[in-house]
């Protein structure tokens, strides 16, 4: 039903999806993990819940999300949603964990990035959304890799809000000056880095930030590595010794040690300056990068272009994801039906979802918007009129499907900074640091009672 335009009333939509759902899940006794029934919510239950005066709390750091919430409240006048910005990323998760632990003060609906979903599955803190209206049949609406990130078997733990398939932004003028073409493979990229450095001795083709585990993990993902896994119970897999991982680390180690790339930490003033004054001629980033860069390097408008991430094999079509969020429902909510509908509605219904993409510039996960000319045809002047969304929409199809996380990503990132960070910053032995990182992760996992494979 997702491909069809929105049917007349919400009741009709609810009925239709309930029928579909009932059809799909016939005979499925549900691999129920944790609490929460996997019995589909009936249209009557849904109708009753949505017409009962209800208050929901929604934690998110998306700017202007109130616009989408207002639309939701128009649709369901009985539901009153309070939007709370409880901090961004880690700050919010810390607040959320504290609230969950205290047993009160947790929101009903909460923004969670893909890589943090496993950590909130630990104590069954997230509601399985699959029995709820219109959720189970969302699967075909997203690229496979996105669904893989939010689901576990039949269970669904978050509604995708935005994603970050990786690509490359580069300064067309600086590349042309140095006589290099946008590199299609990593070999070409390394060659271009050398050429660029010969032409511009004080500049680099790009920065390889020592603090940015997200980018590095994205590079691993692009190379088909699966360094982490969590089975949802007690077993984690930590494997940073595979060829797919070491190939990436060795590649960057070569560039770093030969002084062919910069090693400034990213998202600092220093780094913003470097992007706008041409110290770095490219940024290997994700789909949220183009809009971010426009705000950061305004003075270079018209000079940037977007391209796919360099490939390991010529003609390859493979990338990773870096960033993006979901909206999830906390298992302890008193109003699971209304909460699930809020998470679904603002991210799935055409109007709010399209506005997320075109007003808040969140890169859309949904195929429908990724194929919508209204989204694809945007030709920002900052990129010389290039249809940048098309580049990243294409990248979204090339993200490797299989990728997992550990249920303690905060620790994964902080130990990355402690081990890999200094090795990169001092242009030292990154492979030794990689081994150190892995062993710290393993001993932490064991100490926390996980079985490590």
């Amino acid at each position: 039903m997702f491909r069809t335009r929105r049917t007349t009333t919400s009741l009709a939509a609810a009925l239709a999806s309930a029928l579909l759902l009932a059809g799909c899940s016939g005979g499925d006794d549900g691999s129920g993990d944790g609490g929460g029934s996997t019995e589909p919510v009936t249209p009557e239950q849904f109708e009753e819940a949505m017409s009962t005066p209800t208050e929901l709390t929604f934690w998110t750091w998306v700017p202007d999300i109130q616009n989408q919430v207002d639309l939701f409240e128009q649709e369901y006048p009985e539901i009153d949603v309070e939007v709370v910005n409880a901090g961004q990323g880690l700050d919010q998760y810390t607040a959320l964990r504290t609230a969950l632990r205290a047993g009160e003060g947790a929101p009903d609906v909460v923004q969670i990035e893909y890589q943090y979903i496993p950590s909130f599955l630990l104590d069954d803190n997230l509601l399985d959304l699959s029995p709820h209206q219109g959720v189970a049949d969302l699967q075909d609406q997203y690229p496979e890799w996105v669904w893989e990130q939010v689901s576990r078997g039949d269970a669904v733990y978050g509604i995708p809000q935005d994603t970050g398939p990786m690509g490359m932004l580069y300064r067309d003028d600086l590349f042309a000056q140095a006589g290099i073409a946008p590199p299609a493979t990593w070999d070409e990229f390394a060659q271009a880095a050398r050429t660029y450095r010969e032409v511009n001795p004080d500049r680099y083709i790009t920065d390889f930030p020592p603090n940015q585990a997200g980018q590095m993990i994205g590079f691993m993902w692009a190379n088909g590595a699966v360094p982490f896994r969590y089975d949802g119970e007690e077993t984690v897999t930590i494997d940073l010794g595979t060829e797919e991982v070491t190939e990436v680390v060795r590649y960057w180690q070569d560039l770093v040690q030969q002084d062919l790339v910069g090693v400034d930490p990213d998202f600092t003033d220093q780094w913003y300056q470097a992007l706008s004054n041409g110290t770095y001629a490219s940024w290997l980033t994700a789909a949220w990068g183009p809009v971010f860069l426009q705000g950061t390097a305004e003075n270079t408008s018209g000079l940037w272009r977007a391209a796919q991430l360099p490939q390991w094999q010529a003609g390859g079509q493979s990338t990773g994801n870096w960033g993006g969020s979901t909206d999830a429902v906390i298992a302890g909510t008193d109003n699971p039906i209304a909460a699930a509908e809020l998470a679904r509605w603002i991210n799935v219904e055409p109007e709010p979802a399209m506005r997320l993409a075109t007003e808040q510039f969140l890169f859309p996960p949904s195929q429908e918007i990724l194929e919508d000319p209204a989204f694809l045809d945007a030709a920002p002047e900052f990129y010389g009129g290039q249809q940048v969304n098309r580049v990243f929409a294409e990248a979204s199809e090339q993200v490797n499907t299989d990728f997992g996380w550990l249920p303690f990503m905060d620790y994964v990132y902080s130990t990355y900074e402690d081990t890999m960070g200094p090795a990169i910053a001092e242009r030292g032995d990154m492979l030794a640091a990689l081994a150190q990182w892995e062993s710290q992760l393993e001993s932490y996992a064991e100490e926390q009672g996980f079985t490590v494979e």
């Binding site: 600092t268 249920p407 902080s414 960070g421 009672g449």
Partner: protein, 316 residues
């Protein structure tokens, strides 16, 4: 600054007074009234300080795992901390910080206080305010400001160096970082310590100076032999505050770690380590043990500082 500050009484001075135990009914009634009057304070003190401390101590005896729940482990967390190189390196780093930065900061504060007290300076009020002003800047703002000044490309120092074609000072590199943090702390707290010392100097009876002058002492000699001994209590106070402040170093490294994440790791100072253990590693129990051990270290060092100053007093 107008108000007259009393020189803090050196600890131990009061302990020497003989204690009389009153048993008369009037005396007892007086005691009851006294307890009633301090009750509000004691309640707040207990609720906000004693109970959280006790809870932290209780937490430090357990181990909670993400898988497997909570179990009582006795002093295991403490034993682990004592062999934890990350913790010990952090303690070593702040100890080095203490040994280098505190004498510089207190020396400068004392020098300024003596100069201001001597009345030899022009624009005395202005100078006093100017030195004190950095303390009025919140430490977060001060660190952000210094972080900008330290910037390796566009920071003013870097640009001056470039203009003079000198090598760029690398304030945020691993070799310089501790010194850079010392500089921020010194800038922030010289004025604060100076004010304490200056207030103490103002409380010294002027006849002491007159007597010294009659004996033929110059300004320098008066400063050394009369003023400094007279404000020993204030000096001890600033020294102990500085010891505590050094061991609890947190804001500055935490903020500078954004600029130099690979230099300032998650265990750069013991407090930073305790924070990261609790909130990044979700290891609240171990974090509580680390925090308690740190408090113990601070108590011991403060006691040593106090003891050595008393011994010096007795010897003089």
């Amino acid at each position: 600054m107008r108000t007259q500050r009393r020189t803090p009484v050196p600890a131990g001075a009061a302990a020497g007074a003989p204690r009389r135990r009153g048993t008369s009914p009037a005396r007892r009634r007086q005691h009851r009234a006294a307890y009633l009057l301090v009750a509000p304070f004691m309640l707040v003190f207990a609720a906000m300080l004693v109970v959280p401390l006790g809870y932290a101590a209780y937490l430090s005896l357990f181990r909670e795992q993400l898988i497997g729940g909570t179990s009582f482990v006795g002093l295991d967390n403490y034993v682990r901390a004592l062999t934890d190189s990350a913790f010990l390196e952090g303690v070593g780093r702040v100890a080095l910080f203490l040994v280098v930065q505190v004498p510089i900061m207190l020396g400068a504060a004392l020098l300024f206080a003596l100069l201001l007290d001597s009345g030899l300076l022009y624009l005395e009020r202005f100078v006093r305010l100017a030195i004190f002003l950095p303390y009025a800047v919140p430490s977060v703002v001060a660190t952000l400001m210094w972080g900008y000044l330290y910037g390796p490309d566009f920071g003013p120092f870097a640009q001056i160096a470039e203009a003079l074609s000198l090598p760029t000072p690398r304030f945020l590199s691993s070799d310089w970082m501790l010194g850079s943090i010392m500089n921020v702390l010194t800038w922030e707290f010289v004025g604060y310590n100076m004010i304490i010392m200056f207030a103490a100097l103002r409380a010294v009876p002027a006849d002491l100076y007159e007597a010294a002058r009659v004996d033929g002492a110059g300004e320098a000699r008066i400063a050394w032999s009369v003023k400094i001994p007279a404000i020993r209590g204030a000096l001890l106070l600033t020294a102990i505050f500085s010891v505590i402040g050094s061991f609890q170093l947190f804001n500055e490294p935490q903020l500078l770690s954004i600029l130099a994440p690979s230099v300032i790791d998650s265990a750069y100072t013991p407090n930073l380590y305790a924070y990261n253990l609790a909130f990044t590693n979700q290891n609240i129990n171990y974090s509580a043990a680390v925090a308690f051990l740190l408090a113990l270290v601070i108590a011991v060092v403060s006691y040593v500082v106090q003891l050595s100053s008393q011994r010096r007093e007795r010897n003089s």
